[in-house]
């Protein structure tokens, strides 16, 4: 089995992450209420 090569710099280190997470008609709110609803 090939040994994975170590990243050569910080940019490459960051790009070698395993996953890419996605951060987040019925129109429906003030920001603080939106956060309360969000508060998962």
């Amino acid at each position: 089995m090939a040994i994975p090569r170590k990243p050569k710099d910080v940019d490459e280190f960051i790009k070698t992450a395993k996953v890419e997470e996605k951060h987040s008609p019925k129109k429906f709110l003030p920001y603080d209420l939106w956060m309360k609803l969000k508060m998962v």
Binding site: P7, V10, I14, A17, V19, E21, S24, Y31, D32, K36
Partner: protein, 215 residues
Amino acid sequence: MQTIVVANQKGGVGKSTIACNLAVAFALDQKSVLLIDADTQESALGFRAVREKDDIKAIAITKPTIHKDIPGFGNFDVIVVDAGGRDSSVFRSAIMAASYGILLIPTLPSVYDIWATEDTLKVLKDARAFADIPSYLLINQVIRANIVKEAEESLNELAQQYEVDILKTRLFSRVAFRNSVKEGKGVLEMNDPKAKNEMASLYEEIKEKLLSLVK
């Protein structure tokens, strides 16, 4: 400016609770605090939204630029980063950002949780090829002190293997901690004396670690 990154790929270990409570502790100590939410759950942003006091500023950084952005926030005394989730580019950027201060890795006192923490320690090991990142494990949500003893052996092995220290402070599983984020308060502002003592102890220990970086 001092930076504390609270991170672990393992979910449910109390990252946001600890990040928000540390932010409150610094704010109560008259420090200007920026809370950076790098977690998809955005609990830290929610904490700021429900907090009545305006003493803590909060932003979300959802792109892998945290390690590049930190120097631009020099007008704050303290930056606390809540970095959750899996091994994503944003998570790795947050780990690199800890080179401006310290990395705090909360873990639960079970052998399973401690083993799961190794994924984060492996990323830390790779990151250390590019920067010095002082890192500390924190045992969180302790239910009974005797359970910790069983897990301690595994934790000591990991700490030795990955050259991280274990903080002396232990946070117990308490209602005050669980309610603090959704109420927008730190336990230091609530009425549970035991939770207050534990948080005060953690704060003092973190301050000591940050001070040792300056020397």
